[in-house]
């Protein structure tokens, strides 16, 4: 940082804020995450509760649920994604303008949950679209959703503006292929560019995950 910390805090006392443009830009983005008004199952009820007065998502700037993907920054996948619904979810995500984010809310959205062994339930929406924050729970409490939004805010605050980001890189597409209805399953059953099964079980143990973070 070009400005000395001491000087910066001294200037702040006089109402002068010195900060990199990136920080200012990210502060604006993270303080106005507009979610898509879209729920799939019981988790949506908790999402609605989070937005209502008792839990008041408005405190985090994320209260403006938009009824169209064109105006939304965040897709909260709240509920069981059936295989019949999955193409529509991916299509909605494609219709959102970049930069866009995704929270997978609840056991079903992250893994299929209690319906994982069913013939009609997708084993996690992360098989088709990149998920930024996973929240487990059945359903997660509103506090958990707020925690997910705060986690996402921290992620946005830490993002660097530049080519590394998907939406600045003209070469890479931000459209995710929409799965088709096959004779026995969705085709393809997962988007390999977005999702890969772990190579070894040991890679996903809590010790390994903690080591990486």
């Amino acid at each position: 940082m070009a400005v000395d910390e001491g000087l910066r805090s001294e200037l702040q006392k006089h109402g002068i804020f010195v900060l990199p443009i990136e920080q200012l830009y990210n502060w604006g983005r993270k303080s106005s995450i507009w979610p898509l008004q879209f729920g799939l199952a019981c988790c949506a009820i908790e999402m609605i509760a989070s937005a209502a007065s008792r839990y008041d998502l408005a405190r985090f700037g994320a209260e403006v649920f938009r009824a169209t993907p064109r105006q939304a920054d965040l897709m909260i996948v709240a509920g069981t994604v059936t295989k019949k619904m999955a193409p529509q979810v991916v299509r909605l995500y494609n219709q959102m303008p970049e930069p866009k984010y995704c929270i997978a809310m609840g056991a079903c959205a992250i893994s299929g949950g209690p319906f994982k062994d069913g013939y009609n339930v997708l084993k996690g929406i992360d098989r088709y679209i990149p998920v930024d924050v996973h929240i487990p729970g059945c359903p997660p409490r509103p506090e958990a959703l707020i925690h997910a939004i705060m986690t996402l805010q921290r992620k946005i605050a830490g993002q660097q503006l530049g080519r590394e980001q998907r939406w600045y890189d003209k070469a890479s597409t931000t459209e995710f292929p929409i799965p088709g209805y096959g004779e026995h399953d969705l085709e393809p059953p997962a988007n390999r560019e977005v999702w890969q099964p772990p190579r070894n079980y040991s890679d996903v143990t809590i010790q390994e995950v903690l080591k990486k973070s």
Partner: protein, 194 residues
């Protein structure tokens, strides 16, 4: 409502040639059912609806049951009479399991409320209802070919990553060398030894 034996008697008299049986297949329900052959089910249904003694004007539930050992798919209709305030009365009908021959006459012309439920039975069990006004899949997508509630249904082999597998899921995941926790394999082996 009259006893099931009496109903059987009346129905047999009015629809000659019909093979009618009383079955008590589910003791837990304590509810005997009338099993009618598929050639006469439509006539019996119409009679039960229109006869002033029964007036079964409401079909609350239609479902399928797969009996691989008997080689049949059974379709169960639950009937009530709103007019006479009695029911439920259980009507059953059987068709061969083979997909080409799994045909039954639709009862939608008798009870309009059967429409969606017969579509569901078609979707999940593969029973074709002749005379149904709009027999399409209702839950699965139109391109889908299987009938997932049949006992011999094979789900797609999508078991490459199973963090919490057990029983069939574990067997299938191991069959395609999917990633499973070692503890699950240990537990399964232990259970096998016992």
């Amino acid at each position: 409502m009259e006893a099931i034996e009496r109903i059987k008697e009346v129905v047999s008299q009015t629809t000659p040639g019909a093979k009618i049986e009383i079955i008590n297949s589910t003791p837990a329900v304590q509810q005997p059912a009338l099993l009618v052959d598929r050639d006469h089910i439509y006539g019996v249904a119409k009679f039960l609806k229109e006869d002033p003694r029964f007036q079964m004007d409401f079909c609350s539930c239609v479902t399928g049951v797969d009996y691989p050992k008997l080689g049949v798919i059974e379709v169960v209709y639950h009937l009530y009479s709103v007019a006479l305030k009695h029911g439920p009365f259980v009507l059953k009908v059987r068709a061969p399991r083979e997909l080409g021959e799994c045909h039954l006459p639709s009862l939608t012309p008798v009870w309009r409320g059967c429409e969606f439920q017969e579509r569901e039975a078609y979707d999940l069990y593969g029973v074709k209802f002749d005379g149904h006004p709009d027999l399409r899949r209702i839950l699965m997508w139109d391109e889908f070919k299987d009938h997932p509630m049949r006992k011999d249904y094979e789900p797609p082999m999508d078991y490459e990553w199973e963090p919490t597998p057990h029983d069939d899921t574990l067997t299938r995941a191991r069959g395609i060398s999917g990633i499973v926790p070692p503890s699950a394999i240990e537990e399964a082996d232990k259970a096998k030894k016992k």
